[in-house]
């Protein structure tokens, strides 16, 4: 019941926010950025795997919201609408990326090839071994997530990381509920296969430790 109450409050807040956005209130856009800039950036980053591209796409998402808010008919929630725009913009950017970015030179890759790498600042939380273990696990999961098909990845990210419901994912990706279930199932299967492979290669006992 509290969760339902929280959802209703969030929906009421978003309704009020949409009304003020339609009036062109500057404070409303500030509030929109406060609430959704981080999640949208994180979602787009996982779809594109490029921080600068993710920042550009996030900016484009909010520009589209600004341009189209007057035509927003509240047929879906503001959150779903934002994520739907993000999916479209990320898909457009991925298509553009595949056509134009093949021959670009990456400074990061060049440094890594030269064995220079980047300086990492120490994190004071937990022991270094704990941090390293968690960091390695997270890096492996991130890496495996990047390897799976982008459509399956979008569904898995929306469900497992962004915490969207199946109905919200269906509305965001504009697919049926059955397709959502299928994509999540297939995405997790693909992720599981890659994870098992990578974790076993990295530490033979790691995966079994997770399941004990």
């Amino acid at each position: 019941m509290p969760e339902l109450l929280g959802q209703n409050q969030a929906a009421d807040r978003d309704d009020g926010l949409v009304r003020r956005l339609k009036c062109g209130s500057a404070e409303a856009f500030e509030e929109l950025l406060d609430s959704y800039q981080g999640p949208i950036y994180g979602f787009v980053f996982r779809l594109l795997d490029d921080s600068s591209e993710a920042a550009d796409v996030t900016q484009e998402v909010f520009l589209k919201v600004f341009r189209k808010i007057e035509g927003f008919r509240s047929e879906c929630s503001l959150k779903t609408w934002l994520y739907r725009i993000a999916v479209h913009e990320a898909a457009n950017r991925r298509r553009w990326f595949s056509r134009h970015r093949r021959n670009e030179f990456s400074v990061d890759a060049a440094r890594e090839e030269a064995g220079l790498g980047w300086t990492q600042l120490a994190d004071q939380r937990g022991t270094p071994f704990d941090w390293l273990e968690q960091r390695e696990q997270i890096d492996i999961v991130e890496s495996c997530l990047r390897e799976i098909d982008s459509r399956l990845r979008a569904a898995v990210v929306l469900r497992d990381i962004e915490g969207h419901s199946y109905n919200e994912i269906a509305a965001t990706l504009e697919i049926s509920l059955g397709t959502v279930k299928s994509r999540i199932l297939r995405g997790r299967e693909a992720l599981k296969r890659r994870l098992e492979k990578r974790l076993r290669a990295a530490a033979p006992d790691a995966w079994s430790l997770q399941t004990e």
Partner: protein, 217 residues
């Protein structure tokens, strides 16, 4: 209820998207099927691992970039409304707020101080000498014992000592020498109190009406 259905429904079960009845059936199956329980356990571990990824922090300058892009877009579209007008007016007037409040406060203090003086002024006027005492008309001090045997009006010119230095008969354009002689005799023996202005005697004029009264003896 078979293992195929359970394996297919594990994700929906973990995500809380199964109906309560199906959840109960799946839980029952997991209790007795070690293979399905292991699949469920692995899937749940992996989901937990994925959910721990969290959201990557956006670049610190992203918010500024978005706001700049929005402002350009707003300028391009000629976007203008009451809220923006209010915000701009408020930003524009904000530096003037403190001086304006100080000015109003100073004006109130000054006006309050002046009002004290203004409040005294009517009382000062009330204490003034009335106009009646400032200018006093001439008066007949001693009437003449000689009468004028005619109804007429005489304009008398009185000097500052109360003496008469001239007179005129405004209602008698063709005044007779006899009437003029009567008036002159009458005025010769009359005495006047001169007009006063601010306490000093001044020359003045006075109208005297003579009325003939017949008494039967």
């Amino acid at each position: 209820m078979n293992c195929t259905w359970v394996r297919h429904s594990i994700d929906s079960y973990i995500d809380g998207e199964l109906s309560p009845a199906s959840q109960g059936l799946l839980r029952l199956h997991l209790r007795f099927c070690s293979g399905c329980f292991e699949a469920y356990d692995r899937r749940e571990s992996m989901t937990m691992l994925t959910s721990r990824l969290g959201a990557p922090a956006p670049p610190s300058e992203l918010r500024t970039q978005i706001k700049i892009a929005l402002s350009y877009e707003a300028a391009r579209r000629g976007f203008w409304n009451w809220d923006r007008f209010r915000d701009r007016t408020r930003d524009m007037l904000r530096p003037l707020a403190v001086p304006a409040v100080g000015g109003v406060f100073s004006a109130l203090v000054l006006f309050g101080g002046l009002m004290q003086h203004l409040g005294v002024m009517p009382r000062l006027f009330a204490d003034d000498v009335p106009l009646l005492y400032v200018a006093q008309a001439p008066e007949v001090e001693l009437p003449s014992p000689y009468a004028v045997n005619h109804d007429t009006v005489v304009l008398v010119f009185i000097d500052r000592s109360g003496g008469i230095y001239d007179f005129d008969l405004p209602e008698e354009p063709h005044d007779s020498p006899e009437l003029r002689a009567q008036v002159a005799n009458s005025l010769l023996f009359a005495r006047f109190q001169p007009a006063m202005r601010f306490g000093s005697p001044v020359s003045s004029t006075m109208l005297i009406q003579f009325t003939r009264t017949t008494v039967r003896g």
